[in-house]
Symmetry: C2
Subunit: 215 residues, 2 copies
Amino acid sequence: MARTVGSNGVRTAQAIRQAGVKLIYQHGYEAMSLRQLAAEVGLQSGSLYKYFENKQSLLFDIVRDHMDDLMAKADEALAGLTDPMDRLKAYVGFHLRYHMTRKAHVFIANMEIRSLEDEHRGEVVAMRRRYEGLLDTILRDGAAQGAFKVVDPRVSTYAIISMLTGICMWYRPEGRLSQDELVAIYTDLVTAGVAEPEAGLAEGQARAEAQRARA
Amino acid sequence: MARTVGSNGVRTAQAIRQAGVKLIYQHGYEAMSLRQLAAEVGLQSGSLYKYFENKQSLLFDIVRDHMDDLMAKADEALAGLTDPMDRLKAYVGFHLRYHMTRKAHVFIANMEIRSLEDEHRGEVVAMRRRYEGLLDTILRDGAAQGAFKVVDPRVSTYAIISMLTGICMWYRPEGRLSQDELVAIYTDLVTAGVAEPEAGLAEGQARAEAQRARA
DNA sequence: TACGGAAACAATCGAACGTTCTTTTTCTGT
DNA sequence: ACAGAAAAAGAACGTTCGATTGTTTCCGTA
């Protein structure tokens, strides 16, 4: 056998990418063999090299594309919002929903950074820093306007992102709580955590809204 | 050559364990080869088998011992405290300090679970569930007493633990902020996030205390 | 319908893997 | 001083790995 009937380069490329995400998520990058990947797609391992330069570049492509997508969608979610509290809530909601629906990609992008070669890792770290910068700026703006009480925006950014991203460690679509309910709970936690108690009704408002969303 | 001068079984065993933690943390369990580990300790790879049954059991031993230690020290940190808010603060402080000083162990225990064989993984997951149960109980007790406003203790537990554990992704001993400062910031975030606003001075108190600790 | 490029196979490479086994050297207790 | 135990070397095992290459088959198009 050689070229198989009905074979199509574009479709195969997509299948490889998809299977790659699945297998790296399940077993880890190092533990996934190219023979395993090839079998998942229905190829011989050597044939994979029509579609990527080497194993490393497959990983990097997956991570880079994911980061690009994350950044673009985040910008979209925040577009048009100026009030820091509005932007914070939008960020929390976006981040949670994105991470709930793309567990595998997120897991890979966060956990397999160490498997990237230095140059590639540098690029990815820079991208992530840019993404974290979004929340950092929101917190700084909010603090400057007196809406937030943030002792250290950098630390708060790390803390909040860790908290939100952690959802992909246990969230299951068929689970007890809906996406909306979870977003409400987390939004409540985050806004209560950073809101300036004396700043108008900010906090009470957040709790009330969270309550309403759960109803 | 065979047995080397000054060789000592106990010392070598400790060195292997220590190097194992370091290398698994740096490269991941799958990516760490036994030849690499042996070289780090100054042995030939075959000689390692005097000290463990196989590669898998090395990983399991590391993770199990870590979990035992974590659980024991957590119990210790909470001993004698009955008020939910006191227990919550103690939990946060303990968890952060523990994770700041044992990054590698924590990282391995959290990330290499998937590399464990089914039976071993089951044991570790059960241990982790028990540890999470500590915080879950604290939140439920606090809510029952009206001190906390917790919509869903299970979710809040996951959220808080994710947030706290995330510190080991970026904390460096030589960093800008001291351990005490970081504990104060995180404690502030957590207590503000779960405290019942109308419950006495709980929240204001927490903020004030955090402020004081930073001074 | 013939041809050139695309797609995949099949065989193979050297290196590295985890593991086992035998041998050699050092240490320790009497 | 000596025997046995402990500690490690070192060679070898069968596998599997990522990667390369030459060949074969299919497809789109002119």
